[in-house]
């Protein structure tokens, strides 16, 4: 046998299938345990063993999490936190409503929404709420401080739940469905109903239009340090440059890992400028931004990749699909 002179181009043999038995709505690592939230309402915890927790009595509509808790919103009107040991805690319940969006802050505070109403639950203290003019399409905490970005029709609002002042509105026509802060808080980006992103430079509110996608962008993430915004929605991973103060305006995006199948999910490595890129046929590639080098992590099985997450140390990747398959890969 000859010694390998170049890195292996495939790590598929390291992928451990996880028997989730349902479409994966979202996934997070709780320490070393991967927590898969299923559309049908259950959470599958894959550590050394696999355990299944019936977190909701209905569908899971939104998923987020921090280092310790997977936080899910369901059509049973509940916000549930699930821990790696399988214990669950109901953080909020309102019968007859759907919890459409959930978000978690660095200090453990939680935000969620039901229809037009957004709620903020601090770690200690009273819950606050605010009614927006239309249904909340996305929720995200600012990287620092207690400030929430709320996506809705006609733009996004910046809400300071502890302040009396009205939320500041960033206007842009259309339906905004997902929202993300730049890690340094300098930019706010939304995904739109149309196949496009919209962004605002803060604090001057300058507009950034990012369009040209063949389909709606469902997944986006900033690389560690915030130099690039990686996005799904096209036949390659689209990376918008956010390294300068101006953001991506007037610049071309970088396009990597082109295939004849669309990218359905992206997850950025917590340390390096490396992206996990999942496609609509179930294939997953790891792509290094500096030179575009690709490593195959998962062979296609025909099931669209719907969610991915890196372990905090970057040493493992969890992959979930719409087609009830999932996997865990430790490097």
């Amino acid at each position: 046998m000859a010694a390998l002179s170049s890195p292996p181009s495939s790590l598929t043999s390291k992928l451990r299938p996880v028997d989730v038995g349902g479409a994966v709505a979202g996934v997070r690592f709780l320490g070393t345990t991967a927590a898969f939230a299923l559309e049908g309402g259950a959470v599958v915890l894959a550590g050394e063993e696999e355990t299944r927790v019936e977190a909701h009595k209905g569908a899971i509509l939104s998923v987020t999490g921090d280092a310790r808790r997977l936080i899910t919103g369901g059509d049973d009107g509940r916000v549930v936190a699930t821990k790696a040991d399988g214990s669950t805690e109901t953080l909020f319940e309102q019968k007859g409503r759907w919890i459409d969006q959930v978000a978690v802050a660095g200090d453990g505070a939680v935000a969620f929404s039901a229809g037009k109403t957004a709620y903020f639950q601090p770690v200690k203290g009273e819950r606050k709420s605010h009614d927006f003019p239309s249904t909340v399409g996305g929720l995200a905490f600012a990287p620092k401080g207690t400030r929430l970005a709320v996506a809705h029709y006609g733009g996004a609002s910046l809400w300071f739940p502890n302040a009396v002042a009205k939320p500041e509105v960033l206007e842009w026509k259309g339906s905004h469905r997902g929202v993300l802060w730049h890690p340094e808080g300098r930019f706010l980006v939304t995904t739109m109903q149309e196949p496009a992103l919209h962004g605002w430079r803060l604090p001057d509110g300058a507009h950034m239009r990012m369009s040209g996608y063949p389909s709606r962008v469902r997944s986006m993430a900033f690389t560690n340090g915030g130099r690039y915004l990686a996005t799904s929605g096209s036949g390659e991973v689209i990376l918008w440059p956010f390294g300068s103060k101006e953001g991506p305006m007037g610049k071309q995006p970088t396009m990597l890992a082109p295939r004849d199948v669309r990218v359905s999910a992206v997850a950025t490595h917590p340390k390096d400028e490396v992206i996990a890129c999942g496609y609509e046929d179930g294939l997953v590639l790891m792509v290094r931004i500096s030179d575009g080098a690709e490593i195959l992590l998962r062979a296609p099985d025909g099931k669209p990749v719907s969610a991915m997450a890196w372990r905090a140390d970057g040493g493992a990747l969890a992959i979930g699909t719409e087609g009830e398959t999932a996997g865990l890969l430790a490097f």
Binding site: A59, D75, Y153, R216
Partner: protein, 324 residues
């Protein structure tokens, strides 16, 4: 009830002016022992008398798409609700969307053609309009919403027929036909109708466009010409040239889209053995080759428009100019 398209969940849109009997029909559909389960999107809770955990409240949030199509309004809340309902797949056989009495059905219908996920996993089955036999005539005069609902319908329940005479019924049917000669009209009392007359209609299914036969009741079309809303149907036994037809229909629907509520056609193209069928809602067109023309059927191209302020002569001239 047959499936609209394999693996796609059928969606029925239920419209009707205030007090026409929409909720009665909905309760009937939900309570009859047909063995089907439905997820229901309603605007007001409490009206549904049935205990069903798949009843979802909606907000009728209509917004305009940023795609340069001025009449391309969709229901944002519906996109989100259907996305959520699809996570409970297996729990229900179909979705029924009830609109408010004052709603325009177009944004609801357009939602199923504009959103990728919704379009991939569900199929609009039909727009069903419940009309009050006693009051419809008045509403057609004073409520543009009521007229839109009639013009847009695939199935019309002419309800509360016990409150009017046979003469009055015929009169109101003629008024309906003047606006929409293509919908199936059913006379009902207390919204009592067989469920298979309302669900599983496949009205937007290209495979099921079999024939376009306008029903002009006893000259009623001429007698009750509606000043505001018209429907026109043109036919040609000469084959059409696709290179003329497609640019014409695209330009027409771009320009006149806001005025054209519904369009439909079965076309015979020159040197093409297949029937080409299309249907449209305002500017959104959906068309495909359907099946080969049979030897025993006339290769007749027929096209239909229902809309406001349409120029019949210009439409007809445009269509005639598409002959190969």
């Amino acid at each position: 009830m047959s499936d609209v398209q394999p693996n796609k969940i059928p969606v029925t849109v239920l419209t009707g002016y205030l007090g026409a009997g929409k909720t009665t029909l909905l309760n009937r559909i939900l309570s009859e022992p047909h063995g089907k389960k439905f997820a229901v999107v309603v605007n007001e809770f409490g009206e549904i008398g049935i205990d069903n955990d798949l009843v979802v409240g909606a907000d009728e949030e209509v917004f305009e798409m940023n795609n340069g199509c001025i009449c391309c309004t969709v229901r944002g809340d519906l996109i989100r609700i259907i996305d959520g309902l699809l996570r409970r797949k297996g729990d229900f056989d179909g979705i029924i969307v009830e609109t408010t009495g004052l709603a325009d059905p177009a944004p609801v219908a357009q939602t199923f053609f504009v959103d990728e996920t919704v379009g991939a996993k569900t199929a609009l089955d039909a727009v069903v309009t419940v009309a009050d036999a006693k009051w419809l005539k008045d509403r057609l005069k004073d409520a543009p919403e009521a007229k839109n609902q009639i013009a847009f319908a695939d199935v019309i329940l002419l309800n509360k027929t016990d409150l009017v005479s046979e003469t009055e019924l015929k009169d109101v049917e003629m008024r309906i036909r003047a606006i929409n000669p293509f919908a199936r009209i059913h006379r009902t009392q207390k919204s009592d109708i067989a469920i298979d007359k309302v669900l599983g209609q496949g009205a937007f299914d290209l495979d099921r466009i079999t024939a376009i036969d306008p029903d002009f009741l006893e000259g009623g079309h001429k007698h009750f010409h509606d000043e505001d809303m018209q429907s026109f149907s043109f036919a040609s036994d000469k084959p059409l040239d696709p290179d003329k037809f497609f640019p014409w229909i695209q330009e027409l629907t771009q320009r006149e889209g806001p005025n054209i509520l519904r369009s439909k056609g079965i076309l015979a193209f020159k040197n093409d053995p297949d029937r080409f069928v299309f249907q449209g809602v305002h500017m959104i067109l959906d068309g495909d080759h359907q099946r080969p023309w049979r030897d025993d059927e006339a290769k007749l191209s027929r096209i239909v428009f229902i809309g406001r302020h349409l120029d019949q002569k210009a439409l007809e001239a445009g269509f005639r100019a598409c002959v190969a």
